[in-house]
Symmetry: D3
Subunit: 140 residues, 6 copies
Amino acid sequence: MRAYLSRRYHFSASHRLHRGAYSEEQNRATYGKCNNPHGHGHNYIVEVTAGGQVDPETGMVCDMVKLDEAVRKNIVARYDHTNLNRDEGFRDLVPTTENLCIGIHKMLSPVFAAGGLGPVDLVRVRVEETENNSFEYAGD
Amino acid sequence: MRAYLSRRYHFSASHRLHRGAYSEEQNRATYGKCNNPHGHGHNYIVEVTAGGQVDPETGMVCDMVKLDEAVRKNIVARYDHTNLNRDEGFRDLVPTTENLCIGIHKMLSPVFAAGGLGPVDLVRVRVEETENNSFEYAGD
Amino acid sequence: MRAYLSRRYHFSASHRLHRGAYSEEQNRATYGKCNNPHGHGHNYIVEVTAGGQVDPETGMVCDMVKLDEAVRKNIVARYDHTNLNRDEGFRDLVPTTENLCIGIHKMLSPVFAAGGLGPVDLVRVRVEETENNSFEYAGD
Amino acid sequence: MRAYLSRRYHFSASHRLHRGAYSEEQNRATYGKCNNPHGHGHNYIVEVTAGGQVDPETGMVCDMVKLDEAVRKNIVARYDHTNLNRDEGFRDLVPTTENLCIGIHKMLSPVFAAGGLGPVDLVRVRVEETENNSFEYAGD
Amino acid sequence: MRAYLSRRYHFSASHRLHRGAYSEEQNRATYGKCNNPHGHGHNYIVEVTAGGQVDPETGMVCDMVKLDEAVRKNIVARYDHTNLNRDEGFRDLVPTTENLCIGIHKMLSPVFAAGGLGPVDLVRVRVEETENNSFEYAGD
Amino acid sequence: MRAYLSRRYHFSASHRLHRGAYSEEQNRATYGKCNNPHGHGHNYIVEVTAGGQVDPETGMVCDMVKLDEAVRKNIVARYDHTNLNRDEGFRDLVPTTENLCIGIHKMLSPVFAAGGLGPVDLVRVRVEETENNSFEYAGD
């Protein structure tokens, strides 16, 4: 009996969409107001979905305390109240929410693979940038 | 690296669920209070999900400015502050939210197919009729 | 110890903002797209706030079951799944949400005054027309 | 043209996560604060997703009035304002939200199979325990 | 320049509305399904509103870190994942949300009066029991 | 019959809480993680409340189209997708949400006083910084 747990985490950060290899005009054409100088910011919501068999003894699909620890240590503590453009993961990558989503998935995948959360898979990472705008990545 | 963008749009409209070929009793039995004479209305939320490869240069899955233009021109401008029963798309079709969802999908599909939004697919259209009631259509 | 209870109710209705005594141009200038022919609609949320002494025995400010009955009978059953322009209360009154709010307050005031809900006042009626738009009336 | 309807229902209940066959220490290690004596509670939201062909006559995927009746009778009336640990379905099962989700799926499956809702499948049951925590079960 | 800060905190708890001095019938008549044996529960949201002059140097009305510490220590740690009926504050008081609201106000008042949060007043405590049901207390 | 209209507007911006006249230690002690170098950001929601007599002809309290124009021109266009610390209004003022709230009130007051919105007052400006954190200013 495979079930899914989705859990939401919150952080606030700033970013500016800007690609160094592009001219100012190309940047403006590509990113619009998200390319405004000096950046802007969002209250990001990260939803992590884990899937696995429900343990017949505990009735749980995943050790949620350990999931919280992993996400808070690896994701929230890293990004909360920061400027994403200064993060080393975005040194050569534009900090779009697509790339943020993929980056979070890459950081959490080994945590799931290491087995500490139980026999459960990372199914999907979803990031809400605003209440009208969200992104998902489910791995390759 | 295939990712998904979901974006929400809003419009307010009225409708009445009523099928001309049915008797009054059949209409009442089929649609209940949604068949009340003179109609009623909703704040509809349309969520469009697009999927595609994340562009390695721009870090984006879809040209969101163009997606907004397409949805605002084809969907929001058409339906906002209108009576759906008067829309030509519902001349021979009951304006249920299922049919609305399919109609929006059919209007947006050629926009995606034309390629102007980038190498991205229309994955799904979801319409919330009330906060407890939503519908999805993902094509055939 | 005066405390306040606020309780939310939901109904879906259509309306058209249009004043018979105005020309088409005046109507259009005054109400904009809300004057579109054939109407449009909303999911309305009504929040009723009651205030009074907390009963030292029951620990309650108001008989909530009776409040629900009163609002459901007088307000929700009257407006839900209807066209507000057809309501007799709007025969000579434009069904703006301001007027709806005042109308609800006038219908609930005698219910509170009759004492059946306990020694509690009607403090305020608030109506949300959309998630970005709300109106309040607290009596004269 | 297969479409999906998702509908949300609400109930408030209490539970305590505790497995009789475990020692106090094991219970505490497994369930953390959810094992606190005397229980705690939540406002649960149940979202039922039904999928099927849109009826070309009615424009609907499912008889929503009958779906509401089935969920209210089988699920909401059973759990609302109760202590889940006292429910007979949890006599030998820990009332985690995973198990609740599976239990709701099992109770609704025969309702869909009996055909009274129309030619529509039970696609998924999703339960929100808090605004940051939700679970899904889609059958085996 | 007097401004207001409102801050929301969350806890999950169970309660049963029952007054020992009442007969079973009186309890049932007074509290309805909230009197169901074995209790039920909610995700409570507490909103604390503080008001004061905006400090011309810091631009802040209140030391939010200290406010968080005070509310988390005095309120959230006390009630989260508990059965309110077992709390000593409700030994002789029915744990209605009105009484909970007043109790929280009484516990926070001395924290504000002690001055550690800055020259700021406790303006109001508001508790949401469900998304349709909230209570406020602003002191006597 | 005095009624109130509240209307919500949205913008995304970044800020860093930092006072030039303070040492690094004082800044850190005063603003905590909000003082992190390079800033962070939020999805701000601005709610403007206007109060006045309901016009007996139009049934409206305020010309909402003109209110929207005024707020979009003076507030949203100014702050959306910017870094608040670079705004000239925050050259000598820390961009706390308290100060932002007061600043918005000061910019909108003359718009109301000029009379173009009708015989209506600016009652209150409320700014949500996160879903758990909001600020209000109602003038002096």
